[in-house]
Symmetry: none
Subunit: 224 residues, 2 copies
DNA sequence: CAGTCTTCTCAGCGTCGTCTCAGCGTCTTC
DNA sequence: GAAGACGCTGAGACGACGCTGAGAAGACTG
């Protein structure tokens, strides 16, 4: 297992390197943001440990940049600050986990192993179907690079359909997962499918949200 | 997105429910370990939030039990204690993430979304008979790589025949399984077999759907 | 407290799917 | 070879299904 540690404090970096090597990891070091970004792009690491406070380029920006480049290597962020918004920001930027200093090796190693177990990374943060993308963390939907505004219910419906893309999903399944009821008039689903189509299909001349008469709806994986 | 929250402290549970519902999740509550285990087995939740300290059956054991039953629903564990060993133990038992109280909604929601990001990755097998394929989940039928459009009844009939391919299936069996009745005029089966043949056999010059006079029908495993 | 946004219900309408029926061909039996 | 059983098919009636616009009720905002 190859780990990249991006950390500017020499003593901290060296300690991490020693500790992780003792656990059987192969460890590379980078000492500022740009170096870290470069290394992460090159080497295929199984996981990256990324400090937030870095010279030249902050950990935030390294993470953001990597994700923008469709690089889904698992990232564990480290922060000196204990503010919760740091964490939330970090996770929203596409980090997979977050740890505040001071932390113990036991915890760090447990988290690293958990990240590695999760399926060796490469699980895109965003859901995609052709040129249609949905980012659950940021609550953003884009088509053709253009942002699309959705209400909460519309978003939840689209998210559910995209998670099961290419599958035919019945109205009762949709009611159960998106509305949390099962004895509601299924017409509400039809209405919301209509709303979605007017926002994500019609303006683009596409047909991603397909009706399968008598069975339900299917979100075409190729975007229709 | 359906969430099961297993938490015994009433006020905490109610607060979580309100908070998560505000984020658009559908929330069910369980108030002790056994109830939680039961609920997790029944309902198909997208993620489970599991307190460790629970009456009757600890969160540890609920998690352990579920994993032993090959139930891989994503689990986020909550603990009042801040001990590092709790976390390592929890992750080793098969939990997917871990949070210590007190925590903020922002963090909890971010973690939940991170968990949901991973693919649920389930895929029931496609049924095959020669070059004829039927995918129950996607509700797609293909022959020779060309897609074939079927109505719900036609689809159900073909699916039933393909599940029993090479067997001779009587009309009364078909009525019972596809129409869910047994005192209907069997002619309707003949009519629908005719419809199917026009869609999956005739255009391809094949003969997969064979009549066994006096006995029923057989779907040839080699596609006819 | 007015204005906006969101959710949901309802009724109308066009379309599609289902099923019945009657006629006809074919196979089996005597 | 005649008669009846069996299976296939086209036509058409009927109902179910899905879509939509209008609008009411509630939540949120300034």
């Amino acid at each position: 297992m190859r780990v990249l540690v991006v950390e500017d404090e020499r003593r901290m970096a060296a300690a991490l390197q020693r500790g992780l090597q003792a656990e059987g990891f192969a460890v590379d070091l980078a000492h500022d943001g740009e170096e870290g970004l470069h290394a992460a792009r090159q080497g295929d690491y199984d996981v990256v440990v990324l400090d937030i406070m870095l010279p030249r380029l902050s950990g935030y920006n390294v993470c953001k940049q990597l994700r923008a480049e469709e690089n889904w290597v698992p990232i564990l962020m480290l922060s000196a600050k204990d503010g919760e918004y740091d964490m939330a920001d970090g996770l929203d930027l596409g980090a997979d986990d977050y740890l505040t200093k001071p932390f113990s090796y036991v915890v760090l190693v447990a988290r690293l192993r958990a990240l590695l177990r999760r399926d060796a990374g490469r699980r895109p943060a965003v859901l995609m179907a052709g040129d249609l993308t949905l980012d659950p963390a940021r609550r953003k939907v884009e088509r053709d690079g253009r942002s699309v505004e959705l209400t909460p219910r519309e978003f939840a419906l689209l998210e559910y359909l995209m998670r099961r893309r290419d599958e035919v999903v019945s109205k009762s399944e949709i009611l159960e997962h998106v509305w949390d009821t099962f004895d509601t008039d299924p017409n509400v689903v039809e209405v919301y499918v209509g709303y979605l189509r007017r926002k994500i299909d019609a303006p683009f001349g596409r047909n991603a949200l397909q009706t399968v008469r008598g069975a339900g709806y299917r979100l075409a994986g190729d975007g229709g």
